[in-house]
């Protein structure tokens, strides 16, 4: 009897049920899409922020002071300590290796450009030759990955071609190229070699006055195979808080584990220093500090908007449910006149509401998932996927909201005098 009542109600009142169902579906769609975006936005923006450059730097522990003005290093090139290139792949072996989006080693070497090309005032052309990875194929264990400045420093623009990491080709900074009159395809004589210019580099920074070469070439010129001066690492990090700033040495076991296993800039730096022998790692505060602030703001904004969206869709669903029940007061009157108890009437309505909520919730979740995916693809060129655990949560919310929206209307409908309801005088 109960099942038949509910079934008949759906069969006879297709239009009303459809309206309420559409309202629930829409509400759940928006809620699902927004929750999907909100949970993933931090990661997405974090990746975009990586375009500002590396946020961690690894340097030799016993290094002497840098004497550098405007990108020109005045320290004798053989002075100070070096890191070993062979240790680089170990960066991909740290606990948070999935958060390392890329790294690039740097080895600056001072070279003198061909003595035939003198400056206007007759002095020698002393320039910095910076050895690095462009897009180097590396492997750690079974892991194969490509890293280098092309991914970690995306604002470097090259007219011409990027050199191959195993070649002897070089990039010439645009201001230096102007002074030398060099074009891509030319040869530049320096350090006793003829180096082919594969492209002109424009960075807007000090590299515009430098030569950038594959790391192997720089090591050869310096006469120190396998040497690296510093490593810039791009990592996805979590905004730091008071806990992040604590000294790991003063922590007890469990607290230390929690610190170690949180992707703070500090703990990733700590792990980098552990992974690479005789090194110290430090966060580049200009990048890492501000990143946290920007990330917190954007995440907060989207979270608040998601809350607003949830609230608005809850209201919409409640309004739709109230309307459908309000329209059926004559039916309620008839049921009461036939002797149905308040409980029986209410349970019929609640059963209907639950059924509507579950159907609407399922359809809405599917549509919302597609929508979130579309937003991810069109804005961030990467997928936003919904965790499956979201489905029961969304369904529970949908049922609760539908119940809450129906409750007031059902109470009023049940409380009516059947005589008035049947005469249509309300």
């Amino acid at each position: 009897m109960f099942v038949r009542l509910v079934y008949e109600s759906f069969r006879r009142q297709k239009r009303r049920k459809l309206l309420a169902g559409v309202a629930i579906t829409l509400g759940v769609t928006v809620a699902t899409a927004m929750i999907g975006v909100a949970t993933d936005i931090g990661d997405k923006i974090n990746r975009e922020l990586r375009t500002i450059g590396a946020n961690l730097v690894v340097t030799p522990q016993e290094d002497s002071l840098d004497v550098e003005i405007g990108g020109v290093n005045l320290k004798p090139p053989t002075d100070g300590a070096f890191l070993s290139e062979a240790d680089l792949p170990k960066i991909k072996g740290i606990f948070w290796h999935n958060n390392i989006t890329g790294f690039a080693p740097m080895l600056p070497v001072s070279v003198v450009i061909d003595p035939n090309v003198k400056q206007q005032d007759g002095t020698e052309q002393n320039v910095t030759l910076l050895g690095t990875y462009f897009a180097k194929q590396l492997s750690y264990g079974k892991d194969e990955f490509v890293t280098g400045v092309r991914s970690t420093l995306p604002w470097w623009k090259v007219s011409g071609a990027w050199p191959d990491d195993s070649s002897q080709d070089i990039l010439v900074g645009e201001r230096l190229a102007k002074r030398l009159g060099a074009k891509s395809g030319d040869n530049i004589a320096t350090a006793g070699r003829q180096l082919r210019v594969s492209g002109i580099l424009s960075t807007g920074g000090t590299e515009d006055d430098e030569i950038v070469a594959p790391l192997g070439l720089a090591q050869e010129i310096l006469g120190r195979p396998g040497a690296v001066r510093r490593i810039y690492v791009s990592a996805l990090t979590k905004p730091e808080d008071a806990f992040a700033r604590r000294d790991p040495r003063s922590m007890s076991g469990a607290v230390y584990d929690r610190w170690y296993c949180s992707p703070y800039p500090q703990s990733i730096a700590f792990q980098l220093a552990e992974a690479i022998p005789h090194s110290q790692a430090e966060q580049i505060r200009q990048v890492s500090q501000n990143e946290g602030a920007v990330l917190t703001r954007i995440e907060g904004l989207i979270l608040l908007i998601t809350l607003a969206a949830l609230f608005a869709s809850a209201l919409a669903v409640s309004a739709a449910m109230a309307t459908t029940i309000f329209e059926r007061r004559a039916e309620v009157g008839l049921m009461k006149a036939l002797g149905a108890g308040k409980l029986a009437i209410a349970s019929i309505f609640f059963a209907e509401a639950t059924l509507l909520a579950i159907i609407g919730g399922l359809v809405g979740f599917a549509v919302g998932g597609v929508l979130a995916h579309q937003i991810g693809q069109s804005i961030f060129n990467s997928d936003i996927s919904l965790p499956p655990v979201l489905l029961p949560v969304v369904l529970a919310i949908a049922v609760t909201v539908t119940f809450a929206g129906s409750a007031a209307a059902i109470r009023r409908a049940v409380g009516l005098d059947p005589v008035f309801a049947l005469r249509g005088e309300l």
Partner: protein, 397 residues
């Protein structure tokens, strides 16, 4: 008569009218809040990005085009007048000095008050006091007077000692116990008293920072670099760059490309996400209003039939329902606008610690949108009922 009909219709069926109005208010409030946020978020996030420091660098160049030459003595004053409160600039002068042990070290002269505002990420244990005394109360850096950089080292006679901010790596190398130490530059010796350390993870860690006055008096070297954090949209920043290039012809103006590009990317993506969310939410709200109102008008088919039976023309009926819908839309939009402004301001306070300014330009959009939705939801049922005989409706069929 027409007005009375409108008013009575709303008063008599209070419950339904209120619920329709409520739906309209929610939709208008959500739309207002989203549009307001969308307009304002750029300015809010740009402010966050200015914490990344300089987005423009002004570098002195010598005649043969090499970096590192001194800028004219009044360069900072000229930069300040170009900026006119739209940002902050800090001068830097750099030399290589030697410690008494013969170690080479980079010493910089700068204006600590400005650096403190410009480079907020510097982790400093204690800032040196400047001639102006403590500068904790410096809240409006825009109002600062140009720094008196034009001082002649020889006339002043170089100072005996100076307090300094020392990089964390420099202090380990030159004065691990935080004692005063001597630096010499071209035969002139200066006693440096470390009052604080600076940690940035970059080149600053290996440097020693003096106040610009002491630095110039000691070395006679004028600033060669001015870092500028200009606020505003990319077009405004470009305009400032052009003005700077005109104001200081001997210097070269360079954008800090990674900051500018990163900022543009993140802002663009955030705004796009916000727009997608706004479109979704507004669409849902509008559809809900549509369904609620359609139900309401449809429910009143008896009023409609009675009016028609009493001899009202189709035109009068249409204009009656249209006026009702427009009034509902306008009222809902106005109340919703006020509430939406409140929501946007609250989100601004909670998230950005600065209120989102109410944008009156949003009002006409919300008003027009609301009225369009309400009119649409009135037209649908009326056109359905048009062909039906009033007697059929009145019989309740």
């Amino acid at each position: 008569m027409f007005l009375r009909m409108l008013v009575r219709a709303a008063v008599l069926r209070r419950g339904r009218a209120v619920s329709a109005l409520f739906a309209m208010v929610v939709a208008a409030a959500v739309a207002t809040a989203m549009l307001n946020l969308y307009i304002d978020v750029q300015a809010k996030l740009q402010r966050e990005f200015r914490n990344y420091g300089a987005n423009i660098i002004l570098i002195g160049r010598d005649n043969s085009g090499n970096d590192g030459a001194s800028l004219p003595a009044d360069a900072l004053a000229r930069v300040d007048s170009v900026l006119a409160g739209r940002g902050i600039a800090a001068p830097f002068a750099l030399v290589v000095a030697r410690t008494s042990g013969g170690q080479a070290i980079v010493v910089a002269g700068t204006d600590f008050e400005r650096v403190r505002v410009l480079d907020r990420w510097w982790s400093v244990s204690g800032w040196p006091k400047t001639a102006a005394g403590q500068f904790g109360e410096m809240s409006h850096y825009e109002n600062q007077k140009p720094h008196p950089v034009a001082q002649d080292a020889t006339r002043m006679g170089h100072p005996q000692s100076s307090s300094a901010l020392v990089g964390v790596r420099a202090i380990e190398a030159v004065s691990p116990k935080n004692q005063a130490f001597d630096l010499s530059f071209q035969g002139r010796t200066l006693q440096v008293i470390p009052v604080g350390t600076v940690r940035t993870g970059a080149a600053e860690d290996s440097r020693i920072y003096l106040s610009l006055d002491d630095f110039i008096a000691w070395t006679g070297v004028q600033p060669s670099t001015i870092e500028v954090a200009a606020s505003g949209s990319p077009e405004e920043v470009n305009a400032i760059m052009n003005q700077l290039a005109l104001a200081i012809p001997t210097g070269e103006v360079r954008p800090v490309r990674q900051i500018m590009e990163g900022e543009a990317r993140v802002l663009g993506k955030t705004r796009a996400t916000l727009l997608a969310a706004a479109a979704l939410i507004i669409l849902t709200a509008a559809l809900c209003v549509l369904s609620t109102l359609t139900g309401w008008v449809f429910d009143r088919r008896r009023d409609f039939a009675i009016m028609k039976a009493l001899g009202a023309s189709q035109r009068l009926l249409n204009s009656f329902f249209a006026a009702e819908a427009a009034a509902l839309g306008a009222a809902g939009a106005l109340i919703g606008f006020v509430i939406g402004i409140g929501i946007a301001a609250w989100i601004g306070r909670v998230n950005f610690h600065a209120p989102v300014m109410p944008r009156l330009s949003v009002l006409p959009v919300v008003l027009a949108g609301s009225m369009a939705v309400t009119l649409l939801s009135a037209i649908l049922p009326i056109s359905l009922l048009r062909r039906v005989q009033p007697a059929v409706i009145l019989r309740g069929e």
